[in-house]
């Protein structure tokens, strides 16, 4: 009879041990060398689902200049003087590296204002709608003109009139007040509660100042963000002791995430390595355990290399789960080792466990294969890395490790071995089943209260100092949450026309506002041209002469000279030849930056409205009929992420469960036994959700995936314990399962020491889930087996 493939491979290895050894050593060397060339990146986008809305948001944010902007917040100590704050702003602006920060905005330029006042008045005809002209005409009778001139005269008496005089002479009748409403639309929500003192942005209490800086470095650029944050910290270090600087922007998150994850990976791998070593050294006390220890190390090294070759730069957070993978992959070595020591012959022992070990690996691989059903790229990376690592671990454990273990029997500490279970179930089994049932029902009840956290920022690993500074910044500057309405088109004029349509649509739904928009100030060229033509027709020669006479007569009692309002009349006399003042020279760059964005092939005009979950549906409905319009909203993004994650988890869990049930049945080949083997899976899920609800820990995009991994591991325990129960002999199974669970708990447990919230939540999830699965596997499955399958069926040979 022809030998099975596995046996042939095992014997082939046995005949060529030296070649095998050299090949393994060379491969390990190559893998270790490869680690120095692997690039990692800290990009939270990897953990966002691939969905049109999410893609749309990311595309907008990546293209927009918002991604390169940072706010520098300078905070004055209680003993500090406001003059120190202003000096500090100037000092920071002067000290910043101009290459890294080509644009620095500190506040108001009064000079710009004075120089552009005339340009604004020149631009007025372009934005005067027919309704505006109608109102204007109503205010040109003698009484109105007289009253307006009196107001102008009073303004001249005002102690602060020096700066306003040019405007008063150029516009004595307040025509420019039409701009008031249009400007209000553009500044109604400035995102911050800001005042300007001595040309600087300050809070009302004058204790805080703000600079806005722009850098070409994008937020996801880890190295560039490091330079940006380093430079800002250098500049802040030069500030006097009474002024403290804070950086508010995405770059700090990138840097902090990288630091935290680097620290976490280093710390958790060291703790896991030490814990594994101590575990084997103390429990088994056999030098050969070092070889078991090599299995996870080698599998992780190979997995990382192979995943990098296939996928390119890998996410730190994905690689952060390598400790978990180590915990899983060491299981196969444990089973082979215990089988080898139990039988006294590594090859024979390995042949005995090849089926359950392969089954365990197959279920784990199946679970991770289900990750490809998800639309989250980070999950795909995790799946590729884990599948490759598991395959390497399997090959190492079954085909390499047996040749390295000596042919002798071993006695394992704390393990009696070969204990036969009593033929009849006793009261102990009843109590175990009762307790399990009560606990499971109670935790199932509790599980309904578990919360899904859809805010991806909650698993951001930025340091508490950064998050606290941002919270205080929001409080001090009263930052508003705004949604962005984007009018996008291939040309500026079309985008401006779209933006006007947005304004018109929003005017019918004032509840959604206030709308911050430049639609009234920046209509498209065709509308501007029509407005100018109407303005020109309005100012007929007769009307101009009539008004000039009226103004001269009514200004006389106030002592105004005949030439007092010459600039005003000069403008009126040129209405017929008024060209379209270029809006991009009328309004300063900083103002336009907030509303206009040019990408390689499109122009985007932006408007802003309060971002609230309650208004989102109505907002979408309002803008639904306008093609080329999109809503960029943190609320919308959160809602989509939440629903996509839920959908993904449902489909992944369904596929994983189907796979588990199928594989369980294939390996166990008995319906009742298969159901019993699934008890640890059921326990892990119910207990996990129930305990998380009790601890008020939310489910999130990171720990949900860990739950699926837990299911894959727990079914292994179930299958092993069903096989053990079937033979009515422990024969090392409980020890092997315990060691497996223990090593996985170590691998995941060390993540509890992680500072990064994603890694921490993965650790907590696996510890709770594996704990629940392990306890029910070693206690409940045998008890249930003996209660439910006490007869001959329970003693059938495998």
């Amino acid at each position: 009879m022809r030998e099975p493939l596995f046996t042939r491979l095992l014997h082939a290895g046995s005949r060529n041990r030296l070649v095998l050894l050299v090949a393994v050593v060379l491969s390990i060397g190559a893998g270790l060398a490869g680690l120095f060339f692997i690039r990692f990146e800290s990009n939270i986008e990897l953990m966002l689902p691939d969905h049109p809305v999410v893609r749309d948001h990311l595309a907008f944010l990546n293209k927009s200049r918002l991604s390169g902007k940072l706010v520098l917040w300078l905070e004055l100590a209680p003993e500090g003087q406001s003059t120190e704050l202003h000096s500090a702003v100037d000092q920071v602006a002067a000290a910043l590296d101009p290459v890294l920060f080509p644009k620095v905005i500190t506040g108001l330029s009064g000079k710009d204002l004075q120089e552009n006042m005339g340009a604004l008045l020149d631009y007025l005809p372009s934005v005067m709608s027919p309704e505006d002209l109608h109102k204007l005409a109503a205010g040109l009778d003698r009484k109105e003109v007289s009253q307006k001139l009196r107001q102008t005269w009073l303004q001249f008496l005002n102690p602060g009139s020096l700066f306003m005089r040019q405007t008063l002479q150029a516009d004595p009748l307040g025509f420019s007040s039409v701009l008031l409403g249009k400007l209000q639309e553009a500044v109604s929500s400035l995102a911050f509660d800001v005042e300007i003192e001595n040309g600087h942005f300050v809070t009302r209490d004058r204790r805080n100042a703000m600079l806005i800086v722009e850098t070409p470095v994008r937020v996801p650029d880890t190295q560039g963000s490091g330079r940006v944050v380093g430079e800002l910290k250098r500049v802040f270090s030069l500030l006097p002791a009474t002024v403290k600087g804070h950086i508010i922007g995405g770059h700090t998150h990138t840097v902090s995430n990288e630091e935290v994850i680097r620290r976490d990976i280093g710390l958790t791998l060291v703790i896991a390595a030490v814990a594994f070593f101590l575990l084997f050294a103390v429990l088994i006390a056999d030098v050969a355990t070092l070889l078991i220890y090599l299995v996870p190390a080698v599998s992780v090294v190979f997995g990382v290399n192979a995943a990098y070759l296939m996928l390119g730069p890998l996410s730190y957070s994905v690689i952060g789960v390598s400790a978990v993978v180590a915990g899983i992959s060491v299981d196969y070595g444990i089973h082979v080792y215990i089988a080898a020591r139990t039988t006294g012959n590594p090859l024979t022992g390995t042949a005995h466990v090849v089926r359950p070990v392969t089954a365990g690996a197959a279920t784990t691989l199946g679970i991770f294969a289900a990750f490809f059903l998800s639309r989250i790229e980070g999950y795909h990376q995790m799946a590729v890395f884990t599948i490759l690592s598991i395959l390497v671990a399997l090959v190492m454990s079954l085909l390499v490790l047996p040749h390295a273990l000596g042919s002798h029997k071993g006695r394992l500490r704390f393990f009696s071995g070969g204990r036969k279970t009593p033929p009849r179930p006793g009261r102990r089994e009843g109590w175990i089943l009762f307790l399990w049932l009560v606990l499971t029902v109670a935790l199932a009840w509790s599980a309904w209260g578990v919360r899904l956290e859809s805010d991806i920022r909650k698993i951001d690993g930025a340091s508490p100092e950064i998050l606290a500074a941002e919270d205080r910044f929001d409080e001090v500057w009263k930052r508003q949450k705004l949604a962005i309405l984007v009018a996008e088109s291939g040309s500026l004029e079309q985008a401006l026309a779209l933006n006007r349509k947005i304004r018109d649509a929003m005017q019918e739904h004032p509840r959604l506002g206030p709308l911050t928009s430049v639609a009234s100030l920046l209509p498209e060229a065709a509308v501007r041209k029509a407005n100018r033509a109407a303005w020109s027709r309005f100012w007929s020669p007769e009307r101009r002469i009539r008004l000039e006479t009226l103004v001269r007569e009514e200004s006389h009692p106030f002592g105004f000279s005949d030439d007092a309002f010459r600039p005003f009349f000069q403008r009126l006399n040129h209405t017929d030849t008024a060209a379209d003042a270029d809006p991009f020279s009328v309004f300063p760059e900083m103002f336009l930056d907030r509303f206009l964005q040019k990408t390689d092939d499109t122009v985007q005009v932006l408007s802003y409205v309060p971002d609230s979950a309650e208004n989102l549906a109505e907002l979408k409905q309002t803008l639904d009929g306008i093609p080329g319009v999109r809503i960029v909203s943190a609320q919308a993004l959160s809602s989509v992420i939440s629903s996509v994650i839920t959908e993904d988890m449902v489909s992944m869990t369904r596929a994983a469960l189907l796979f588990l049930v199928l594989l369980t049945f294939i390996f166990v080949r008995n319906v009742k036994e298969s159901i019993l083997a699934l008890i640890p899976v059921l326990s892990s899920v119910v207990w996990l959700f129930g305990i998380m609800a009790l601890l008020k820990l939310p489910l999130n995009v990171a720990n949900l995936v860990a739950d699926v991994v837990v299911m894959g591991l727990c079914i292994d325990y179930g299958i092993f314990m069903v096989f053990s129960s079937r033979h009515r002999s422990d024969a090392g199974t409980t020890l092997a399962v315990s060691l497996s669970a223990l090593t996985t708990l170590i691998g995941a447990g060390v993540l509890v020491f992680a500072k990064h919230p994603a890694l921490f939540s993965i650790g907590v999830t696996i510890v709770i889930g594996i704990g629940a699965g392990f306890l029910s596997a070693v206690f409940v499955v045998p008890a249930a087996y003996r209660r439910l399958l006490p007869g001959p069926e329970g003693a059938r040979p495998s």
Binding site: D90, P159, S561, P588
Partner: protein, 224 residues
């Protein structure tokens, strides 16, 4: 209401025009002053530091191209150092302005209504009022950042401030000349020369320093 709207419009324009790239290296405001000037300013500031309240009559003469004749205002000023300033015009029109650090309150005899203009979001108006505050309070060192200064006369002291090209006031202001009383305790006259040739002279008469002020002195609608 229209006046209020104008001021508000002005503040909105300021918000729209908010933005400047500031890379100028800050320097010490008193750098470059001669020893005599420096000593004079220190002496005047020492006097000003003792000022707690001010009550004075004033005559303001505005020679503006926009007016046929000199515009002469008469009235009274009440000031708490670093606090409120009330500007009551009695002639040619009854008109009052109260300036605090947060708000301007205005009243005039025709409308007989009090209107409030918050200074938040009115950076240009605040700047103008900050300028007034500097001269009235005697905080001359803070002005050295934006102004060149020269000692015109020593007895009585006359100092002239000329805006630096980078200063906010450079476009509209040529110089501000401060003439002090012989005891140097307070101003006798402020002469403002504007870039376009207009000028404003404010003479202070019957000035009383550090006398208790009544709350009514800071009410703009007391004559309503």
């Amino acid at each position: 209401m229209r006046r209020l709207r104008k001021v508000f419009l002005f503040s909105l324009l300021c918000l729209v025009y908010a933005g400047q790239s500031a890379r100028a290296v800050p320097e010490s405001p008193s750098a470059g002053l001669g020893p005599r000037l420096s000593a004079t300013i220190s002496r005047l500031e020492a006097h000003a530091a003792r000022l707690k309240t001010l009550s004075t009559e004033f005559v303001q003469e505005k020679n503006l191209a926009a007016f046929r004749n000199t515009l002469t205002l008469r009235g009274r000023i009440f000031m708490e150092r670093g606090g409120r300033l009330a500007w009551h015009v009695d002639e040619p029109v009854r008109y009052s302005v109260l300036i605090t650090d947060k708000v301007i309150r205005q009243w005039d005899e025709e409308t007989r209504q009090v209107r409030e203009i918050p200074l938040s979001g009115n950076p240009m108006l605040r700047t103008a009022l900050d300028q007034i505050s500097v001269w009235f309070n005697g905080d001359y060192s803070s002005a050295l950042k934006d102004y060149e200064v020269e000692l015109v006369q020593e007895n009585p002291v006359v100092i002239r401030f000329m805006p630096k090209p980078s200063a906010l006031t450079a476009k509209v202001l040529k110089s501000i000349e401060l003439r002090f009383r012989s005891n140097e305790e307070y101003l006798e006259q402020i002469l403002i020369l504007e870039a376009g040739g207009d000028s404003t002279r404010i003479r202070f008469e019957n000035t009383v320093l550090n006398s208790p002020l009544k709350e009514a002195d800071f009410e703009v609608d007391r004559r309503a």
